[in-house]
Amino acid sequence: MKRAIPIFVVLAGLLVAIAAANPFFLEPAGFLAFLKRVAPLAILAAGQYFVIVSGEFDLSVGSLVTVEVVVAARLIDGDEAMTWPVLILLVVIGLLVGLVNGLVTTKLRVPSFITTLGAMLILSGAVFLWTGGAPRGALSQGFRVFGREGVWAVAILVVVVVAAVLLMRADFGRTLVAAGDNEKAARLSGVRVDRVRVFAFVLSGLSAAIAGILLGGFAGVSAQVGQSLEFQAITAVVLGGVVLGGGRGHVIAAIAGAFTLEALFTLLNLHGISGALEYAVQGVIIIAAVAVGGLRLPALRLSPSKA
């Protein structure tokens, strides 16, 4: 957890800066609006964390979010009665995609970068093949309430965070980190490496399904709803001090990374650096954050655990 301290300091600093620029942020309504905006990315970051800490990547979550929203819109098509069956279907789709990603990566030994890159192409191709190129239909009010009402979004976020922490404290969490840290050693000490990795991908798929449900309500139906979310999620996880390649980092820090990224966007907007230069600032900050984290790492590694 020591590695995670910097991200909380940075996050606190950003939140103070936002509050200073916009006092509305301190009121319950203002803060709730912020939480509602963060929720999808924070949930995706939690899912991505499981995959990354086990030593893999999941590039398919952006497309998967788009798939979830587009499928929901077409199947519900404004019919309230369809809301719950479709919600269940969306979760099943998320779990299935994660399962396939995990099985292809572990059993067929395709690097996860390629597996999930392929899944990204297949998912976005398949869904628009089905709808004829553009999203069709509409979401029901009952569906949109999850992403639109701050209370619902925050409740879902809290449940996800608690579940993620509990999972990481359970045997699963320890074996997952062990698999990412040193696969061979983990295997030799009896960890079913393939099984925990598949489970990590399933969790990532599930997180994309939940994020898709929230984003459908929050942002509405569009073909771009999930665009570049995979990179944002990976960025958030890495900002939280989780090391690409696996074995190091805490799930709370990864979620804090998502909060930091969103707080950064909010602050840049408040200061009128919107759209264009926002990306440039984002790029510099990501590199700087990881560089600082990397420089710190050797000192930490001197601790007995390395020897």
């Binding site: 990547f57 590039l59 292809v104 067929l108 030994r109 395709v110 690097p111 970068f113 390629i114 597996t115 890159l117 392929g118 899944a119 990204m120 192409l121 297949i122 976005s124 191709g125 398949a126 628009f128 093949l129 190129g133 990179f231 990976i234 960025t235 890495v238 090391v243 690409l244 390649g245 759209g275 264009a276 230069l277 926002e278 990306y279 440039a280 600032v281 984002q282 790029g283 510099v284 990501i286 590199i287 990881v290 560089a291 990397g294 420089l295």
Partner: protein, 317 residues
């Protein structure tokens, strides 16, 4: 057949020939024809991706990867077209400036990865975002003008062969020579295979990675010049619309180069790009839905890598 699959480079060419044959048959069955012109068209369309992928091969072989090439291509197309400003006399300056910008971006990528010890994925993603910010800030749409002389690069042919394809072949040969016949090439394989072993054997690993990134970015720059000559102007979305970042990585891996580095080569990459291009033009001939094409492309990439993984895995065990 087993010997064919055992070597990924041979496997990809076998797959290429098979795809050509099956494609030919399907198109003929559909009542169309697959002519020499189509083959030439394939080379023309795949030249830009091919050049980027050859550069990407260098980065991947060195154990790195480059996600910034797509935005760099857009940037280079704009820089080149604006410097030319429609005047033939400016072509040389524009090419030098464009390649200078590319080399600089590659240098930044390499230095951030080696000296600041940032994972290549994050480093090049960050640099991509910086370039994107600059592009969005400075340009709303196409800008600059490419003189007719320079447009020859994109459209002219020598006999039946497009100049663009010759350019691709030259770049591919250059990088192949570099990798297989020079000391630098051996070091790239050494660093990609095992950084620590390379370092202990006296290779200055940082320099090798930086050089690989500079060369990779230069290739992206050449592709940017080629695309500018095709469009007749620079465009801020030309690189991302083509999806050159992930597509080039996919082509390299399809060609049998290991994503972890140290194994593979340019010949496989060229085969991988051609395979993607042949699939594309067969689908065009059959007038297949473009979303279906994405699905097939995804399946082909994953299946190919799964096949390579099986072979290498068995040999190891």
């Amino acid at each position: 057949m087993i010997a064919l699959v055992a070597n990924p480079t041979r496997a990809v060419y076998a797959a290429l020939i098979a795809t050509l044959a099956v494609g030919w048959a399907l198109v003929a069955f559909d009542g169309g024809t697959f002519t020499l012109n189509d083959l030439v068209g394939i080379q023309q369309r795949s030249a830009a991706l091919g050049i980027v992928a050859v550069g990407q091969t260098l980065a991947i072989l060195a154990g790195s990867l480059d996600l910034s090439v797509a935005y760099l291509i857009s940037l280079v197309s704009l820089v080149a077209a604006e410097t030319m400003a429609g005047q033939s006399s400016n072509i040389l300056t524009a090419v030098i400036v464009a390649l200078g910008v590319s080399a600089l971006v590659g240098l930044v990528n390499g230095v951030v990865i080696t000296k600041l010890k940032v994972h290549a994925f994050i480093a090049t993603l960050g640099v991509a975002l910086v370039i994107r910010g600059v592009l969005d800030h400075l340009y709303d749409g196409p800008a600059g003008r490419v003189p007719v002389d320079f447009q020859q690069l994109g459209y002219a042919r020598i006999g039946p062969i497009p100049v663009a394809a010759i350019l691709w072949a030259a770049v591919a040969f250059g990088v192949w020579f570099l990798l297989r016949r020079t000391r630098f090439g051996h070091r790239v394989y050494a660093v990609g295979g095992d950084v620590e072993v390379a370092r202990l054997s006296g290779v200055r690993t940082d320099r090798v990675v930086i050089a690989a990134h500079v060369l990779c970015s230069l290739c992206a720059g050449v592709a940017g010049l080629l695309l500018a000559s095709r469009l007749g102007a620079g465009a801020p979305t030309v690189g991302t619309d083509g999806g050159y970042d992930l597509e080039s990585i996919a082509a390299v891996v399809l060609g049998g180069t290991a994503l972890a580095g140290g194994r593979g080569g340019v010949a496989g990459t060229v085969g991988g790009v051609l395979l993607l291009a042949v699939l594309d033009s067969v689908f065009n001939q059959l007038e297949v839905n473009s979303f279906f094409k994405d699905v097939v492309r995804g399946v082909v990439i994953v299946v190919a890598v799964a096949v390579y993984a099986r072979r290498t895995g068995r040999r190891a065990s």
